[in-house]
């Protein structure tokens, strides 16, 4: 490389580096701010608080259920979108992506209408009330998180050579067995990465949950709802500690995702 850089080159690179470093510092300060503003004494107090216990347990089981349901929906949807070409495929693909771009509150309104005036009575007859119940929380989380699962699973299925599936068929395996023995093992990392992101999305859900299931203390109180409820009554310490816990969970999930997808790239 020759040293023939003009001042303009330095300005160009300098500006890019400046923006890059400033953004990184901003993110770090944002995270540090949460930790610095919280008091450690109250941190442990909040951890012992029954409301916090309820919120974290409720969040864990609802998000886990939502992730499992999302995966059950996303495996066939992602596989069909990846393997088959049919008229209207792009339209269906776009429709399935809608919850990603839809404001969560709008998703909430749509869900509220679907499970309220439209099918509410029928579901109530079977004892399956959704509106303002914990079922509603799971459904709202599932609704906003499933598109992430579908997208990442489709991407994972796209990444493997379909000839491997074909050769397995000629070696005597049924499509179902090929899926279990070839497709799933080869896409394992992509699927696990996708699951992690789906779970992260479900954890952060607030808007749609609030509309469909309501924000009721100790009933439909997820960690996000707990932050909202406590901020609104001025208990900033409780909200802050909950925020820090959520931040740590999200960071762990993000690192897990990077590990899974990183391994996949190296294969």
């Amino acid at each position: 490389m020759k040293f023939s850089k003009k001042p303009g080159d330095y300005i160009f690179q300098g500006v890019f580096w400046l923006v890059f470093i400033s953004t990184a510092i901003f993110m770090l300060m944002l995270i540090a701010g949460l930790f610095l503003f919280g008091e450690w004494a109250t941190f442990f107090e909040v951890l012992k608080n029954p409301e916090f216990h309820f919120a974290i347990t409720f969040t864990l089981w609802t998000t886990l259920l939502a992730t499992v349901f999302s995966a059950l929906v996303a495996i066939p949807c992602g596989y069909i979108l990846s393997r088959y070409k049919f008229p209207g495929r792009i339209i269906i693909d776009t429709i399935l992506d809608v919850p990603i771009v839809l404001p969560p509150l709008v998703s909430g309104v749509a869900l509220l209408i679907f499970f309220g005036p439209l099918f509410g009575e029928t579901l109530a007859k079977w004892g399956l009330d959704v509106v303002f119940s914990s079922r509603g929380v799971v459904i709202a989380q599932c609704f906003v998180a499933a598109p992430f699962a579908i997208k990442t699973f489709k991407h994972a299925f796209d990444s493997i050579d379909t000839r491997l599936e074909k050769v397995a068929r000629t070696l005597g395996y049924t499509p179902y067995k090929v899926f279990l023995k070839v497709t799933i093992p080869l896409t394992k990392n992509g699927l696990l990465g996708g699951l992690t992101m789906t779970w992260a999305r479900a954890l952060g859900e607030f808007g749609a949950t609030a509309m469909l299931a309501g924000v009721t203390r100790l009933k439909t109180e997820t960690l996000s709802v707990a932050i909202f409820l406590n901020m609104s009554v001025g208990d900033t310490q409780f909200a802050l500690v909950t925020a820090i816990i959520m931040l740590m969970i999200s960071l762990t999930l993000l690192v897990t995702f990077k590990i899974f997808t990183g391994v996949e790239v190296r294969l």
Partner: protein
């Protein structure tokens, strides 16, 4: 003995092929997009022809008239891909055992270790595909395809990813294998030497239509036809 008469509509032409193949090696020759791979896919059951029939050793694999279309897994047709298509998450042994596990093969089924030894790759049994050279991969893929004792072997440009020396030795091995196994082989190739050395018969495909067929071909003729 393979008998086939198949038509397959593709978006820009209709593929048409009539075949009667004893235990010989048939070479399908033609430029890219001539429908060679589609023919192999039809024979293996990976693609359904538009009409016609396929019969292998008196067993009907496909018949549009009788509405028969056997799934690939029960056709007993071996398929060898250009880029080997070995399962990357399995060792050489697991790759070869894979097909054997799919069916309850009777006692006469082959010992995979012995088969790999006969291909000169017995010492690689615990390695993964990524640790093998191109030639080794193709030998393992051949062993895997033959382990299930197919009645027909399809080879889709099996040597095109290999260097010249490996290519020549594998070509001879395939010829030898064919003599041992006594089943029809169908080989798709672009390579004139492959076609000349291996082909008992040659079908030249042009937009899905066999434009010429010969029992044995001379190199000069091949060049003429292609040119």
């Amino acid at each position: 003995m393979l008998e086939a008469s198949i038509q397959k509509k593709l978006w820009h032409f209709t593929l048409h092929l009539e075949l009667q193949l004893k235990n010989e090696i048939l070479v399908l020759w033609g430029h890219s997009g001539a429908g060679k791979t589609t023919i192999l896919h039809c024979l293996a059951g990976l693609v359904k022809p538009s009409s016609g029939f396929i019969k292998l050793d008196q067993q009907v694999l496909y018949s549009s008239a009788d509405k028969i279309h056997l799934s690939p897994q029960i056709r007993n047709v071996g398929y060898l891909f250009q880029d080997y298509a070995l399962f990357p998450h399995m060792t050489v042994r697991q790759n070869v055992m894979y097909g054997l596990k799919s069916k309850k093969h009777n006692k006469s089924s082959l010992d995979p270790v012995e088969l790999l030894n006969s291909f000169g790759v017995g010492h690689l049994i615990d390695r993964y595909p990524r640790q093998l050279s191109g030639g080794e991969k193709q030998r393992v893929a051949l062993a895997r395809a033959l382990a299930v004792q197919p009645k027909l072997l399809l080879l889709d440009e099996p040597f095109s990813a290999l260097d010249k020396n490996t290519r020549e030795s594998l070509r001879q091995e395939v010829k030898k294998l064919h003599r041992q196994w006594q089943i029809p082989f169908i080989l798709v190739t672009h390579d004139e030497e492959d076609a000349n050395f291996l082909g008992d018969r040659l079908i030249l495909l042009n937009k899905g239509q066999p434009s010429q067929e010969d029992d044995k071909i001379a190199s000069s003729q091949l060049v003429c036809r292609e040119g």
